[in-house]
Amino acid sequence: MSTTLLLAQLLNGLQYGVLLFLLAAGLTLVFGIMSFVNLAHGSLYMVGAYAGALSYDATGSFALALLAAMAAALVIGMLMELTIVSRLYRRDHLDHVLATFGLVMFFNELVRIIWGPQPLFVQVPEALGGTVKLLGLNYPAYRFAIIVVGLVVAVLAQLVIHKTRLGMLIRAGAQHPQMVSALGVNIGLLNAVLFGLGAMLAGLAGAMAGPVLSVQSGMGESVLIATLVVIVIGGVGSIKGALYASLIVGLVDTFGRVLLPVWLRQVAERSLADAAGPALASMSVYVLMALVLALRPQGLFPVRRN
């Protein structure tokens, strides 16, 4: 592979990773701190994508669309939290899986009822619609935008968690919820705020993904599994872990897809390589996760717990 192509694939892996990070960041907080398995995170992503697509179509302003997406996801997320999620915090992971499984079904069908199964059209914003010449290859400018947004979110998240009072409460609530509650902090409200933050991040990810991916019912599923993989590899509850793990997963997935078929063709005959290559490439991320879990079950960058 030429250096140019290598560089391009590196960039591809990174931007895919950053897209995963936007989703993973919200989810890992909910998992790690509230220990809540939220399969419906993909549905919040879908809500954000739809809200973003519809408002962009209506107003023509992408910035407004992003805000609308975050707002919509926040509202739906808070509704979810108030009615269902808050009742399930103390329960087993199983009840979380069950409830959110039902929610996924509900939201997918609801979206289908309201907007039909046809995917929505989303325009790439004018300013970001061009390509950037990168050492002889055309690289979509929008992907750079995704990377920028992702990094901004990463930095902001770290700032909030480590430099603000809210962040301090979040970290304390993760380690010792009863103590925090005893000190007069409304832990129920804190959890709700946290869930809302996670929902907003999911909505932002959905709106950012709109121009690149198909906006349709069930779009959350394909990224949800990848997101869960990222969180588990990175370490549940750790934003830093989510960032590194999503970059790793993005790179492994990208390079797996381009390199494995090529390598296989060199060691096996063509038809076998053509069949096995993509299969192994699909499995590569899961194999990675299984390895990480087998060797270091708490993840690669776990949160320090007392």
Binding site: L5, R112, L120, V212, L213
Partner: protein, 386 residues
Amino acid sequence: MNIEFQCRTAAALSLAMACATANAVTIGLVAPLSGPQALVGQDQVDGFQLAVEKLGGKLGGEPLTLLKEDDQLKPEVGQQIVRKLIDKDKADAIVGLSFSNVLMSSLPKLVEANVVAIATNAGPSPLAGAQCKANIFSVAWQNDGAAEAMGKFAQDKGLKRVYLMAPNYQAGKDMLAGFKRHFKGQVVDEVYTQVNQPDYSAEISQLQAAAPQAVFVFYPGGMGINFVKQMSQAGLMASIPLYSVFTVDGTTLPALRDAAVGAVSGAMYDAALDTPENKAFVAAFQARYKRVPSLYAATGYDAAQLLDMAIRKAGGDTKKLAAAVKAAGSEFKSVRGPFQFGKNNMPIQNFYAFETWRDAGKVSTRLIGTPLPQHVDPYAAQCALP
């Protein structure tokens, strides 16, 4: 509507209620109404129902009981539904049958019960060849047809270096094989991607680096939207012509719009076809459903028309229905142009090449060629039917 509700309740409770008059026709319509391919299923149902409405809610002159079922694109569910339609609902015919995997899994039951089945979205090669059955028809296409048309089109255009891409499952492999049947130039590379993969940036970079004369892809449904959007954003649509099947069509174009301009697709139908039947169909569909019909809607519509004529021919005798359908195939006016059933019950029809272009600022399609007129599929010879 009220009677339908009563019948549905009775059906749910398995009560043998006399839901309709003695002469009524019961048709089961099986399609994927949920999941990533729901847009395909919805178009089929809408196309079929439009035709039924035009016929006054009757098929073959008889009042129609239409049972719509969602197979969720799962073979197991599809089989269950077909069993129910045959054993419980006593359907006279089953239409739709979703994608190839659902169709193939239901095949034994359909054959055993000898019920007329009309597939509107598939034509798998085993069914077209050695396993052809007298009561199973496809009113859509034989699976390889569209890809073969694109291969011929590329060959006729004099292209020498083409890059191939498809998802890594049976249909993907079949499409690329179909393309290569008529294309004799060099295949620069044959890339199989993960099913429902969201991000193609890695593959698109590879494609760019390979610099072929053109790229041929098969990415149905949401995959197609993802791929074409991303390829367009990489600025490749002008430099690497995109040839495709089932990727840029009536269902995906509304979500793609400008991104798809320049793409060439091979299909047996597009709303752009200039025949009087099609013009009427497109106008009616747009008026009723506020969108342009896709090839899936066309096959649904044709299936209803075909059944209407066949039921009249059979004169209410279900045993004669299969033969009637075969005969009606040559007589009914399809919206796609000339149509008849081959000896393996697969369609013999034109395969066209359509280009997506800007027509006075609006994104639309136009016909640019007919690479395979009156095409007989390559598996017909293996079929033992008379």
